[in-house]
């Protein structure tokens, strides 16, 4: 804005000119007004033409002159000085309003740009840049609280001083603002306590919290070399920026989390597809026998599996396994266990010997207490003999058609991965035509409904008996449906896996 002058005030197109001209004429015939350089503004005559002159002053500075008869001259000088004073006030007010317009525009632009900035460092840099336009700074920082309560640098601007956070100090402004959640000014403070290396010794600080309604994210710290002397209106401006930056940082953070989550979900989907491809896609086709399986993870990935393994001598390996826990670690462990078992049973005819070896491999790889319960059965389809090892798994159920009884194939050893060198015991059963064998994981019996009841063995037995005459596929389907109907809307608590083997003839 231009400096105030009598020449500007009395330009011919300005309202004051006409008024002054009329009053000058009314007061005395030949009153003349000159500017500070002696140029004629109102009236007729020359500055060097002689006559008495009185200075028109403002704040001790001569702004111009009035010449002419004394009585009118004094009145006109007073009028001009009053007009100049009013003009000065008007300018001061206008300056303030224009400054507030500048600030409003900066803040408005900042909020628009913050919305489009997806990265927290970019947001923090933008905030410091805008704060630097609003308030004089020498250096500035955005510091974030990390998960263990320490502050870490997100962005820095201005003089490259290293911030040193000294928690516990009474004079620690950052800690004070983090504790109160309120912005603060500290003028003329020793800065060597806050910054490492060669810096200024005294300075002024503004610290404003970056927060959302839910939480405190960190602070914006501004430093001005003395003698800036920050005042309340500086604090207000910085705080206004900080109030916009806090939510923007949170949104960016949540956006990143969402992107990361999306990426992880995609990876999980891919992992699921890989894992699902390891579950038999088809059941064995052996004369006189029928097989069925169900595999339903509680989460994206499963620690359960079942397997059919065709062995060289015409026997069929039957496996059901359940890795402790669920999710990614147990699913990886399940993949490893499947390979270990397949490798062992391919060259060891005895189920006990094969599981001994599989246990060695699994135990070597087991970390964080992971173990796996498992049943491995070696079925001779010609004779109906099944040699099996139950490594700490739920008892398999053998339904004997002739007697109508259910027989449990109980544990013959501990779960795999717990004790290397453990010697597993194997047992044998005979399946007659009409008999069927049910392998299942605890996801079946421990499934819970909305009143926290377990599905339990009794319901399992009931379903088996109710559908004993059905095919293997129907039996697996009925059992799966019974469990899902029992749990209702409640998501599965554990992976659910079922294998049914039926001797038809």
């Amino acid at each position: 804005m231009a400096r105030i002058s009598l020449e500007r005030l009395l330009r011919k197109n300005k309202p004051a000119y006409g008024v002054v001209e009329e009053i000058a004429a009314a007061l005395a015939g030949d009153l003349t007004v000159f500017d500070g350089h002696g140029s004629l503004l109102v009236g007729r005559g020359s500055f060097l033409g002689g006559g008495s002159r009185t200075a028109v002053s403002m704040n001790g500075q001569t702004m111009g002159w009035v010449s002419g008869p004394e009585e009118g001259r004094a009145a006109l000088v007073r009028l001009l000085e009053r007009l100049l004073a009013t003009e000065a006030e008007k300018r001061e007010l206008s300056e303030e309003v224009l400054d507030s317009y500048r600030e409003l525009n900066l803040l408005y632009n900042l909020s628009e740009r913050l919305i489009s900035a997806p990265e927290p460092p970019a947001i923090a840099n933008m905030a410091l840049k805008e704060a630097g336009r609003l308030v004089r700074i020498t250096a500035a920082w955005v510091l974030l609280l990390n998960s263990d309560g320490r502050v870490v640098l997100l962005a820095r601007r201005g003089r490259p001083l290293a911030f040193r956070h000294a928690p516990g100090s009474e004079d620690d402004l950052v800690a004070a603002v983090l504790a109160s959640g309120e912005a603060e000014i500290r003028n003329n403070v020793p800065l060597h306590e806050i910054f490492q290396g060669d810096g200024f010794t005294q300075g002024d600080l503004i610290c404003a919290p970056l927060k959302t309604e839910q939480r405190l994210l960190g602070v914006m710290l501004l430093v001005g070399e003395a003698p800036v002397r920050y005042q309340a209106h500086h604090l207000k401006l910085v705080n206004t920026v900080a109030l916009q930056v806090g939510p923007a940082l949170e949104i960016a953070h949540l956006y990143q989390v969402a992107v990361e989550k999306g990426r992880m979900e995609q990876e999980l989907r891919q992992a699921y597809e890989v894992q699902a491809s390891l579950i038999p896609q088809q059941t064995p086709d052996i004369d006189g026998w029928a097989f069925a399986g169900r595999w339903r993870p509680a989460l994206e990935l499963s620690g359960d599996y079942y397997d059919f393994i065709f062995l060289e001598d015409g026997c069929l390996g039957l496996v059901i396994g359940d890795v402790a826990d669920k999710g990614m670690p147990s699913s990886l462990f399940m993949v490893f266990t499947r390979s270990a078992v397949r490798s062992a049973v391919s060259h060891l005819d005895s189920p006990a010997a094969a599981i001994d070896q599989a246990n060695e491999l699994v135990a070597q790889e087991s970390q964080d207490g992971l173990f796996v319960t498992l049943i491995y059965g070696r079925l001779n389809p010609n004779t109906g003999r099944l040699a099996y090892v139950n490594a700490g798994h739920n008892p398999a159920l053998l339904f004997e058609c002739a007697s109508g009884k259910l027989r449990e194939l109980r544990s013959t050893g501990i779960p795999l991965g717990i004790l290397p060198g453990f010697a597993y015991r194997e047992e044998e059963v005979q399946l007659q035509p009409g008999d069927f064998l049910l392998f299942y994981t605890d996801g079946v019996t421990e499934a819970i409904n909305d009143v926290y009841e377990e599905f339990g063995t009794a319901r399992l037995v009931e379903v088996i008996k109710q559908h004993q005459g059905r095919t293997a596929e129907e039996m697996a389907g009925r059992l799966e449906t019974a469990v899902l109907e029992f749990t209702g809307e409640r998501p599965l608590f554990d992976d659910l896996t079922i294998m049914v083997v039926k001797r038809n003839a």
């Binding site: 804005m1 231009a2 500007r8 330009r11 197109n13 206008s94 309003v97």
Partner: protein, 125 residues
């Protein structure tokens, strides 16, 4: 002929602020003209043919869009640059302004520095 800037706004403080801001240009011979409503604005455009007009959109009786339409479409004064002063966030004003021939837009509260740059650019100063 002096370069002329006309400020048409029914809010006196907006006229005053723009006047104060553009005072320096008066030293370069730019003439500042003020109008307090749309009718006055139209009269001054017709009588003084300003180079640049800051025209508020929201005015009683004759609003800024109608003034702009009259100047640009009816009178065909395409050499008069008209800057519409609109409210922030009123993006539909831009579309309406384009229809009536507005050249530029500024949103209120305007950015003083942008306004100065715009005047210097339009008046080639």
């Amino acid at each position: 002929m002096p370069k002329r800037v006309l400020i048409v706004d029914d809010e006196s403080h907006i006229r005053l602020l723009i006047e104060m801001l553009l005072e320096d240009f008066e030293d370069d011979g730019v003439e500042l003209l003020m109008a307090a409503n749309g009718q006055e604005g139209l009269d001054m455009v017709r009588d003084y043919r300003p180079d640049l007009v800051f025209l508020d959109v929201m005015m009683p009786v004759i609003n800024g869009f109608d003034v702009c339409r009259t100047v640009k479409k009816e009178w065909g004064m395409h050499d008069v640059t008209i800057v519409l002063l609109t409210a922030k966030g009123q993006r539909q004003d831009f579309q309406h302004g384009d229809e009536v021939g507005a050249d530029r837009y500024m949103t209120k509260p305007f950015n003083p520095d942008e306004l100065l740059i715009l005047v210097a650019e339009v008046l080639d100063l």
